[in-house]
């Protein structure tokens, strides 16, 4: 979808009202919802009233006085942006008097504005310029000699945008954007009258302020005052293409603004259903990795990982990989090879990888990185509600009265949704946070959690049981809902279990560390505070009881009837952009697309007929099983697309031993990632800007990914999988990803109505989309659960085996930060590293003091798996006894320490709980030294290959 660069700006936000108001603007009759401004009503009638301080993403402020109108029967010249419509109103927007006033206003603005339009970065896309034209400004009588702001200095501290105060017209759009859209409140207008000016924080540089670089202010600014550096460098774009962010599970829609094949900037799409025109620093600004010099664009092969890489043709690389896989299968059996796909791949790519494994390899050894994040969500929600997905759309939060956030850090992990959530909280919704750390959301401007249950890591299930116990025993359950919608026998069993005294907050308090009274108060608020919605993240799933906890969450929602309508529900916040899609597409070893078990003959037959092969009816190996089987010798070849298990999976040394034990490791990626350092074949992948496809976000929303520039390697990722399948002797005659989607739709009941044509028409679609739901399904389980009756399951709290001891007295838990993204392969190759250039170990002051560790000291972190060294960050965000780190840099080795403990149902690793000891040290750990020398060696082998080709 190619679109023009400018958006139509209707001036003030839309109002929702049943009641319509009729009025007349310049003789044209208009009918708009009650509460709409005159400015917007006029715009809807096709009449543009000049304006500067108003824009339709922000509430009107009425400061510039340019939008004045005359209204019959009213005195003076009211500002149309702040005047609501009234029935029978007769409005005139163009009169001689109005023209004079507007010209006068513009004259004042221009007299204090540098007249460098021709060389200004906003030239051609500046609202001030437009308005000067619109009001017919011809002269500036005041001259430029008077006092002015033209000499103010620029703030270029932010790597992505500049602030040039000499061009500021003090319209406060930026300030309002930071407050209303982003919710950070980093900007203020200092001083009054002529002295008034915009400033970040306490008159600081942007980089030193609270600013999180979301860019909302830059987008809102009508002049070149706040401007993307990329636009300053490259000039204004000439066309744009709507596409979807490739970072987190919010799945923001963007317009990629292009100049030929070069990306000038990413602008969040106002019509985007997931983000409504907002974005975070990653999606808007961190796209430089796509053209980074580290990109590998030529296929490479080698026999041993100690050999130099050899650059080869696509054919040679593909044939080599295929013949290796065939050789291994001939010698060690059909099940000796497998594949891994990634949540960063499109739906179509993932679908093809699992199809290749099942149809061309002839086994079910396929898995996805969702294994290590949200596999418990799939299991737990399917077992209780009947569908492995979240129940709501993001817009639902606007009707929520009580937000319960468990084990998620939305302001860092899902920033754009966090902004929506914060807006709702500022409107008065109540907040309960269940997290071992004081995440930002607990206290941000104008938001304060009613309850923060600061539990010990690993005791989630105890807390959810205590919450449910309180609701049941205090008689706060929604008995009518349960009786009508849930299985009675299962509920009775569960009720007996949960009512036992051992599940009470008082009995569990010693285990969880959360005061019983606090748990009871939170339970009462959740059960009785109106519409209550649960949002949760990896702090729920990445535990030995991850699936049990997801079940506990679903139990709680059913118990209180908080499911099946707007404003409520169970909402897993997915980590990566396409976690939901990867799971939907059948990339787990036990299920075909649409969550149907491989042992189900009817489903298998359907796929067998379509694919023309016999399919295996036994489940295959999951990632951790593949690694164990590799060490054991029964698994020897793997095709990995877009995944970096050597960095992201737990117990790094176990992962790398398994990779070393394999005979053929094929990695398809943008960069020589940590896993590729153990590979024998490297297939250069394409970035999200270089291919067509779809991503499915945390709301089950399928959004289009569109190719905006040619692929650097000459191939889109789906084409590479097709070539590999064909070299293995299995034909995949697709000409375009849309045909892959058509096949998915023909085989998956929840996708029957999905097609590229419909995506083009609707913009995005939330599955299920089929005959019953032709335009998709924002809220699920409305009249009945997908499985029929909801099923309560007993959630016994089983403490993890990962307990603290004298040897390992602290608990390490892990998480993400706003500016970096997971393994960091992308964001580390952008300026985002200016906010976070290394992983640090957060430690409580008392634990630090006990160990003689000071701020910034090197701290050795040791677990039963391994040891690494990180710099200490002393903070009360973590509680005594708990330490915390992020895992964005491979050399930090966060996963050298994490153990092989995993969720009982899905083997999702227990990243969130590792018993460790922390000590001051003076040098890197042994693992880090080995890592460094191995990485340097691999980098040299890559450089050699590049030089040989150039020579």
């Amino acid at each position: 979808m190619i679109s023009t660069i400018r958006w139509k700006d209707l001036g003030t936000p839309a109002r929702v009202s049943e009641r319509l108001v009729d009025l007349e603007v310049d003789g044209i009759p208009v009918s708009v919802p009650e509460g709409t401004s005159v400015l917007r009503a006029a715009a809807e009638a096709g009449i543009s009233i000049p304006k500067l301080c108003a824009t339709d993403s922000l509430e009107a402020f009425g400061s510039c006085r340019l939008c004045l109108v005359e209204i019959e029967g009213r005195k003076g010249y009211p500002a149309s942006c702040t005047t609501p419509v009234a029935a029978g109103m007769v409005v005139h927007t163009q009169t001689r008097k109005l023209a004079d006033i507007r010209r006068g206003v513009m004259e004042l603005y221009i007299s204090d504005h540098p007249l460098d339009c021709l060389t200004c970065s906003a030239n051609g896309n500046c609202e001030l310029q437009d308005m000067a034209g619109a009001v017919g400004l011809r002269e500036v009588r005041y001259g430029y000699e008077g006092e002015n702001h033209l000499d103010l200095t620029k703030d270029t501290s932010n790597p992505y945008f500049t602030f040039d105060p000499s061009k500021c017209i003090v319209c406060s759009r930026c300030v309002r954007a930071c407050e209303e859209t982003q919710g950070t409140f980093a900007l203020t207008i200092d001083g009054r009258g002529f002295e008034s000016k915009v400033s970040a924080g306490m008159n600081e540089a942007f980089m030193d302020s609270e600013c999180v670089s979301c860019g909302a202010c830059v987008q809102a600014c009508p002049t070149a005052t706040l401007m993307e550096k990329s636009v300053i460098d490259m000039g204004q774009a000439e066309h744009s293409v709507v596409t979807t962010c490739a970072y987190c599970g919010v799945g923001c829609s963007f317009r990629a603004e292009m100049k030929g094949n070069e990306l000038v900037r990413m602008v969040p799409n106002k019509d985007g259903h997931a983000n409504h025109g907002h974005s975070c620093v990653k999606g808007r600004f961190a796209f430089g990795y796509a053209t980074h010099k580290d990109r590998i664009t030529t296929p490479m092969i080698r026999d041993k990982i100690s050999d130099p890489w050899k650059q080869v043709s696509w054919d040679e690389a593909i044939n080599h990989a295929a013949s290796e896989f065939k050789r291994i299968q001939a010698k060690h059996g059909r099940g000796a090879v497998g594949g891994i796909t990634s949540s960063r791949c499109t739906n179509e790519e993932t679908y093809l990888v699992q199809k290749l494994v099942r149809a061309a390899f002839g086994n079910n050894n396929v898995d996805t990185c969702a294994r290590v994040c949200h596999s418990p969500t799939g299991y737990g929600l399917k077992a209780t509600l009947g569908e492995s997905a979240g129940t709501q759309d993001f817009d639902s939060v606007e009707k929520t009265d009580v937000v319960l956030v468990i084990g998620a850090n939305p302001t860092d992990g899902h920033p754009v949704f966090a902004s929506r959530m914060k807006r709702r909280l500022r409107e008065g919704a109540k907040l309960i946070v269940v997290d071992p750390r004081t995440i930002d959301l607990v206290r941000t401007p104008h938001v304060e959690a009613s309850h923060h249950l600061k539990l010990r890591p690993g005791t989630n299930v105890a807390v959810i049981n205590a919450l449910a116990h309180t609701i049941v025993t205090e008689g706060l359950a929604n008995e009518a809902f349960v009786a009508e919608r849930c299985e009675a026998k299962e509920f009775a069993k569960w009720k007996a279990f949960i009512s036992e005294a051992r599940n009470s907050p008082e009995e569990l308090q010693a285990e969880t560390g959360v005061p019983a009274a606090e748990v009871r108060a939170a339970a009462r608020l959740y059960a009785t505070g109106g519409n209550a919605a649960i949002y949760y993240g990896l702090g729920v799933t990445e535990h030995s009881q991850g699936s049990t906890m997801v079940i506990g969450i679903a139990n709680l929602a059913m118990l209180t009837g908080n499911i099946g309508r707007e404003g409520v529900g169970v909402n897993p916040l997915r980590g990566q952009n396409n976690v939901q899609g990867a799971c939907d597409m059948g990339s787990f070893p036990h299920e075909l697309p649409g969550y149907r078990h491989v042992s189900d003959t009817a489903t298998r037959t359907l796929f067998e007929q379509s694919w023309g092969v016999k399919l295996e009816s036994e489940p295959g190996l999951r990632i951790p099983n593949m690694l164990d089987a590799a060490i054991d010798g029964s698994f020897r070849g793997i095709y990995i697309e877009g995944e970096d298990i050597a960095q992201s999976d737990p117990d790094t040394q176990h992962v790398t031993s398994a990779l070393e034990a394999m005979e053929c490791v094929v990695v398809q990626d943008l960069f020589l990632n940590e896993t590729a350092k153990y590979a024998h074949v490297f297939l250069p992948g394409s970035s999200f800007l270089e291919k067509n496809g779809t991503f499915t976000n945390a709301e089950r929303r399928i959004s289009p990914v569109r190719k905006v520039m040619p692929s650097l390697s000459g191939k889109e990722d789906w084409e590479i999988t097709v070539m590999l399948a064909e070299a293995l002797g299995y034909a995949m005659p697709y000409k375009h990803p849309s045909e892959i989607m058509d096949e998915i739709a023909s085989l998956t009941p929840t996708f029957t109505g999905v097609s590229y044509a419909k995506l083009e028409e609707l913009g995005s679609i939330q599955w299920p989309c089929n005959e019953q739901h032709p335009v998709g399904t924002p809220v699920m389980h409305i009249d009945e659960f997908v499985r029929g009756k909801g099923r309560f399951l007993i959630t016994e709290y089983v403490p993890t085996e990962e307990r603290t001891s004298r040897k390992y007295p602290l608990i390490l838990t892990t998480g993400r930060i706003l500016s970096q993204y997971n393994v960091g392969a992308q964001t580390r190759r952008t300026f985002n590293s200016m906010w976070h250039d290394e992983d640090r170990l957060e430690i409580h002051p008392s634990d630090a003091e006990l160990r003689g560790i000071k701020e910034g000291d090197w701290a050795g972190v040791r677990s039963r798996s391994g040891e690494t060294v990180l710099r200490a960050l002393i903070t009360e965000r973590v509680q005594p006894g708990v330490v915390y780190t992020t895992f964005h840099f491979p050399e930090s080795g966060a996963n050298v320490i994490t153990t092989d403990n995993s969720d009982w149902a899905t083997n999702c690793p227990e990243y969130k709980v590792t018993a460790v000891q922390v000590e001051p040290v003076t040098q890197p750990s042994e693992w880090q030294k080995r890592f460094r020398s191995f990485s340097e060696q691999q980098q040299e082998l890559l450089e050699e290959a590049r030089e040989t080709t150039q020579a």
């Binding site: 099940g335 079910n364 050894n365 069993k493 007996a496 279990f497 030995s544 699936s547 049990t548 070893p589 036990h590 078990h597 042992s599 036994e618 489940p619 295959g620 190996l621 999951r622 099983n625 164990d628 089987a629 060490i631 054991d632 029964s634 007993i794 016994e796 089983v798 092989d900 995993s902 009982w904 149902a905 899905t906 083997n907």
Partner: protein, 75 residues
């Protein structure tokens, strides 16, 4: 396959089903989970280990593992 790990996995599954009041359902729960989610080579390894006594398996896991079909038997 690393049998220690399989034993731990089976025990973890059994811990979940442990509190099911109906014992037969609990055994079926564990068995069903293993059959639905474990690759055949893992099931075979566990089943073989149980033939040798199955040390380390908690009783519920052991009971379920004993019911795993032997090689050649259909499910």
């Amino acid at each position: 396959m690393d049998i220690e790990r399989l034993v731990k996995m089976a025990n973890d599954i059994a811990h979940f089903f442990q509190s099911e009041p109906d014992h037969e359902e609990a055994v079926k729960g564990v068995l069903g989970h293993i059959q639905r989610f474990w690759d055949p080579r893992m099931r075979k390894a566990l089943s073989g280990y149980v033939d040798g006594g199955g040390a380390g398996l908690i009783p519920l896991a052991l009971e379920a593992a004993k019911r795993l079909p032997k090689a050649g038997q259909t499910v």
